[in-house]
Amino acid sequence: MFRFLIRRILLAVLTLFAISVVAFGLFFAVPADPATTMCARGCDQVTKDQIHARLHLDDPIYVQYFDYMKGIFVGREYGAGDWKRDCPAPCLGFSFRTDEPVMDIVKRSLPITVSIAIGAWIFELLIGVTAGVFAALRRGTVFDKLAISLSLVGAAMPVFFFAAILLYVFVFGTGILPFPEYVPISKNPLAWAGAFILPWLSLALINAANHSRLGRAQMLETLSEDFIRTARAKGLRKSKVSLRHALRAAINPIVTMAGLSLGGLLGGAVITESVFGMQGLGMQTVTAARELNMPLVMATVLIATVFIVVANIVVDVAYAALDPRVRLS
């Protein structure tokens, strides 16, 4: 188990390294000169040169990459003399647009993304897995058929459309809820939940479709297994057969999907954020990419990668913990 973890983490570091190299390479792949992006109209060559010097843009690419990585772990200094700016670890550089430290932008937008992701994740699992499991246990009934049809609708529904409907019904139509506005959970947990309930529901109801379809299929498969018949032949009551035996055996793929889903959600739910006007990580990425604001793109890519890689490790460990047949070596 320990050796497995070490190996898995080393692999994760390698993945992160590869992704960071590729993302950093984008700096140079884009045609536009960052200096042009940064300086205002009527920019002259002198200003451009100053910007180049300040951002060390004339250094060889590997030196720049090394400096960047060094900034993340130990911090670094930009420029020299009057232009000298200190950027403590973890330093992700400065926004080309606003000159604000990227770390500050991340600190501002990450809580929003995490709030959306965690809440949506809990809701989608509660709704999706429960619906799927019960649909399988009540196969062929009205409940089952309803669950299947709703899953199909959910899987086919685009988030922006569904989110818009929710907004229309609950905010503009009936006014039950105010327009979502971010409040930190530390300030007012209730207002926080109120602000996020619509993003949660719009993501959860749509993602739940995947969980319910997977959950139903997995349960149906295990319910037809021989060991379920054995459990019944022992004289076990039906509820225990369903939960202790069938669900236990069906849980692995569900856990896998749940883990990857969380990783994806943490990487930023761009469309949801933009429908509800929330400046989460996803929105920042899109804006940054459009404006060729490379330090911000780089940062968001790295953060999303970390989330997904970590989610993968957690899923692998969970898999081994759940299935004794999986050997972690």
Binding site: F227, T230, K234, G235, R237, R248, A249, R325
Partner: protein
């Protein structure tokens, strides 16, 4: 039908003890989109404690469906079960799920074919046995665990205290089936239904498992139903044999009667299709031509008539009337359902069937025992 059951009951030599399991006119039907499947159609048999009934037949002959019906494991929504199944005096047909559940595992238990798929892959062997024991006994987990270790030891698993904490995938096939048997027997059931318990095992292990079952039967005096398509297994363990075809019983009697002087052309076919180690394989292996009948469209008359070498078609009754299970006049307690006149059956048996070399060697083997 009553006369048949009485005749069958009379055939049981040994004691006057009432049979622990009595099955009368059992029918199991499944409604499917293609029509009604008559999986079991009027089957009678009985088993006393301490005795073993072998149920033989091809896949789809209704053997396993019969056993699942006894435990009430069919889905009541799709299966219709008729007739009477008395287990220790309780008629289990139509019994409520709650009462059936209390009987399952305690009064009647089952050993399944493939122990790898029949044991839960994510629970330790011990946990699964403990669970089975605690369903019917109000004891602490540690007491149940002691019992589990004791059972594992009893079925011949070495180092039971260590193996109890292992998972099914850590067991070999034979050990796994032993563990399955330990789990089935943990509540001392009076009726054990073994559904092809040795099919998934290699031959040497198979013999050990059968011996173990026979041992445990002597110890606990349980009634055993051994479902199999392997006539070797039947001849080794069964006191009585029931041959099923197309959901009906075609021949029923003591093991000696059915295996040494069979009267039904299907049983002849089964015996003939057992290859021996002697002689040429091609001459020796005579499979029954054709396929088992569809249980939705059972052939008219005798279900076996399309595959029967001796069928009296045209003017004969074989494709018109369903033959009834009737006593063989010259052999008391032996029942067969065949339209062929008894004299003719005896002639065919003596002149064609028993002369085939391997049947003789088989009867010699049996003589030796």
């Amino acid at each position: 039908m009553t006369t048949v059951t009485e005749a069958a009951a009379a055939a049981k030599d040994t004691t006057d003890e009432a049979p622990y399991l009595e099955v009368e006119n059992l029918t199991v039907r499944f409604k499917t989109e293609d029509g009604v499947v008559r999986a079991v159609d009027g089957v009678d048999f009985s088993v006393q404690r301490g005795r073993t009934l072998g149920i033989v037949g091809e896949s789809g002959s209704g053997k396993s469906v019969t056993s699942l019906a006894i435990l009430g494991l069919h889905n009541p929504k799709s299966a219709t079960i008729g007739g009477r199944v008395s287990v220790g005096g309780t008629d289990v047909v139509g019994l409520s799920e709650a009462r059936l559940r209390k009987m399952r595992g305690k009064d009647m238990s089952m050993i399944f074919q493939d122990p790898l798929t029949s044991l839960h892959p994510y629970y330790k062997i011990g946990t699964q046995i403990v669970e089975a024991y605690r369903i019917h006994h109000d004891v602490s987990k540690s007491d149940a665990r002691k019992r589990a270790i004791e059972m594992l030891d009893r079925v011949g698993i070495p180092e039971p205290a260590k193996r109890v904490d292992q998972y099914p995938h850590e067991f070999s096939g034979g050990m796994r089936q032993r563990a399955m048997i330990a789990m089935s027997l943990v509540n001392n059931p009076d009726l054990i239904i073994a559904d092809e318990p040795t099919t998934a095992l290699d031959v040497t292990v198979q013999a050990q498992i059968l011996e173990l079952l026979a041992d445990l039967q002597r110890e606990f005096r349980s009634a055993i139903i051994m479902i199999t398509h392997d006539l070797g297994v039947v001849s080794q363990v069964a006191d009585d044999v029931l041959v099923m075809y197309g959901g009906r019983s075609v021949e029923y009697g003591s093991a000696a009667q059915v295996l040494r002087s069979p009267h039904h052309p299907y049983t002849w076919g089964l015996l003939n299709s057992v290859p021996t180690l002697y002689g040429s394989a091609e001459e020796d292996l005579n499979p029954i031509s054709g396929n088992p009948p569809s249980l939705i469209n059972i052939p008219s008359g005798c279900a076996f008539n399309p595959r029967c070498k001796y069928a009296m078609l045209g003017d004969g009754p074989c494709d018109k009337d369903v033959p009834q299970l009737a006593p063989v006049a010259s052999d008391e307690g032996h029942l067969v359902s065949c339209h062929l006149p008894e004299g003719e059956r005896i002639t065919i048996l003596n002149e064609e069937i028993l002369t085939s070399s391997h049947l003789q060697s088989r009867s010699e083997e049996t003589d030796g025992e």
